[in-house]
Subunit: 363 residues, 2 copies
């Protein structure tokens, strides 16, 4: 079986590594000829919108998928004229537009913070009226130059906010004071079977995921709600593959924040911490194989390596630590690897984590 | 870190796959340019004794090792003039000669079946006298054309036995009726730390390993004896890397059969079934990193795929099954992959195994 992946970053790399034992050849397409994935599997070098490169990818695979949600939808649709593409490009489309995404969540019954579309200053003022403050103004599509978001606490600053987001089509969203961020990573196969990994608890710093813990320390009610949310979205989209949904826990009620139609950073712990890794699970789904078991093995924590690398010897001396490097040159804010800790119980996990964290440079 | 591996079969492949996440580039040397390892990592094509190819391997690595025990000792020694080689070529030497191997075992206190060197018909007759029958005459070095062994039940057939082994330097070994075959896979790092995986129970058919179960169902006394045996050999050889010793359980007493100075088929279950796989463990040791934890995750069984491949979909539908294909064309008696089952308890493992085995073609 041959799988084509648009994108050759660390997610493409880990998909490729999951493919090797299964006899699945993963070929990636990436503008960088020395991408993380190109170091471990066949790769095509080209822009995501390059039709020749996409055609070459289509010839190199039996089924295509993507490793990031900002793949041009046209590229995915072009691929889909030549090979099956999973998940369907409609999932990409929904994930690329915050308004479409929130609308989808609402339609399938996921609670979301109150939101309203903003297309100009007038509709922004109306949205402030309707939703109340504080609120966050976010561009509907990928932000640029850090101009993607503006926290609005004062209606008099509507003009500033509108300029700050580049006067792009946006949404205004009520600011919610959440207790913690959780994520649910789940998969649906071609026959409609669904499997959700244990819920993950996430800690961010400077907008970048730093630590995930799984299973998250939540009650059965929250777990069941998250699984139901994932199921609702997967079924609505007729989705095939792995999907992640970020959730805010607001006093025990879950609000959906955003989704990623792909394997997700908060699922990296599954490589050692679950029966089947999210990477193998995604390959199983898109190739038409049955899903694997998602039960956890003990309890896990995943720490991202951002901007700089720790010393390998030090990391490997931490009990239960598993090192994953992506073959990337360290640069500020760049994810260059992660470390997963697997332990028998939470206390042992936290002990190992306390030993690991001082070894991680904060660049 | 860069590791060179002499041999690019499935063991070299799985070493290379274990290297990728750790940032260790594994380069293999193999006569086959499309070897299993060459499909997933850099590879040099050349004969094991080709000095130019060996020099190229030495340039491509910081430390060298091997994936099979019949690497020419001269090749290993040549490499050792250029880069550190682990385990030391003396371990290869001992493993390549049954007399040296049994002598080593005896010297460090491992019980072995009574044996005697045989260099001609006269010494064979003397050995029969001394050891008694039934006994097995085995060439000291690698057998050829199936002529490597002869089971001798009648002293009158000494001539036949001597001809059967090609009149090569041999040993005569008392035939032991063992209850089961076990193996201990253990590692020693550069600082002398030693870690033994749980003892493995092995089932063979036609001289080929078919099923390993880990942890083996043995008492604490046998486990402790096996660990002590592994430690004795590792320390005597100043060994760095993973070593496997095959043991016969004869009514609760362990006899050492043979050793493999490398990762071993009976350790494949560790990829999913132990905290650290034997492949990562070997890389950790030869690179000078600390050893990883060897505790089992639940209970495992490993089934070799010999001569033919099962249907991927069928295998992946078995609970807890992990498929490993080696990228080899199926041929009779050829190991082309393995499947590992990991389960919470022995009953669940045996249930899954009972579901898996009918799916495995017996070619």
């Amino acid at each position: 079986m041959r799988v084509g992946v648009v994108g050759g970053g660390q997610l493409g790399r880990m998909l490729a590594l999951a493919g090797h034992p299964l006899g699945i050849t993963v070929t990636t397409l990436d503008p960088n000829p020395a991408s993380p994935a190109a170091q471990v599997a066949p790769a095509i070098s080209g822009a995501y919108g390059d039709l020749d490169a996409l055609a070459e990818l289509a010839r190199a695979c039996d089924v295509a998928t993507y490793e990031f949600e900002n793949v041009p939808v046209d590229a995915a649709r072009f691929l889909a004229t030549r090979v099956p593409v999973h998940p369907d490009p409609t999932a990409l489309e929904a994930a690329q537009d915050r308004l479409a995404e929130k609308t989808l969540f609402t339609e399938v019954g996921l609670p979301v913070p109150p939101f309203a579309p903003v297309d100009d200053l007038g509709s922004l003022r109306a949205a402030i009226e309707g939703i109340g403050l504080p609120a966050v103004l976010k561009t509907r599509r990928l932000g640029y130059d850090g101009k993607g978001q503006f926290v609005l606490r004062d209606a008099l600053r509507a003009d500033d906010a509108w300029r700050a987001v580049g006067e792009q089509p946006s949404i205004l969203e009520r600011f919610v004071a959440f207790r913690r961020e959780l994520s649910v990573v789940a998969a649906r196969d071609a026959d409609g079977a669904i499997a959700s990994y244990p819920l993950v608890g996430n800690e961010h710093r400077d907008g970048i995921l730093r630590i995930s813990r799984a299973p998250a320390d939540v009650g059965a009610g929250i777990r069941a709600a998250a699984d139901a949310h994932a199921r609702a979205v997967l079924e609505r989209l007729g989705y095939v593959g792995v999907l992640a949904i970020e959730l805010f826990d607001v006093d025990g009620e879950l609000f959906a924040n955003e989704m990623a139609p792909r394997v997700h950073n908060s699922g990296h712990w599954t490589i050692e911490g679950a029966s089947t890794s999210q990477f193998e699970q995604h390959l199983r789904a898109v190739c038409g194989f049955p899903l694997g078991e998602v039960s956890p093995r003990g309890t896990s924590a995943m720490v991202n390596l951002v901007g700089a690398l720790p010393t390998t010897t030090d990391v490997l001396a931490v009990p239960g630590a598993h090192l994953h490097l992506y073959g990337k040159e360290p640069r500020p804010s760049r994810k260059v690897g992660h470390v997963t800790i697997v332990a028998d119980d939470t206390a042992a996990r936290e002990d190992a984590l306390a030993r690991l964290l001082p070894l991680i440079p904060e660049a």
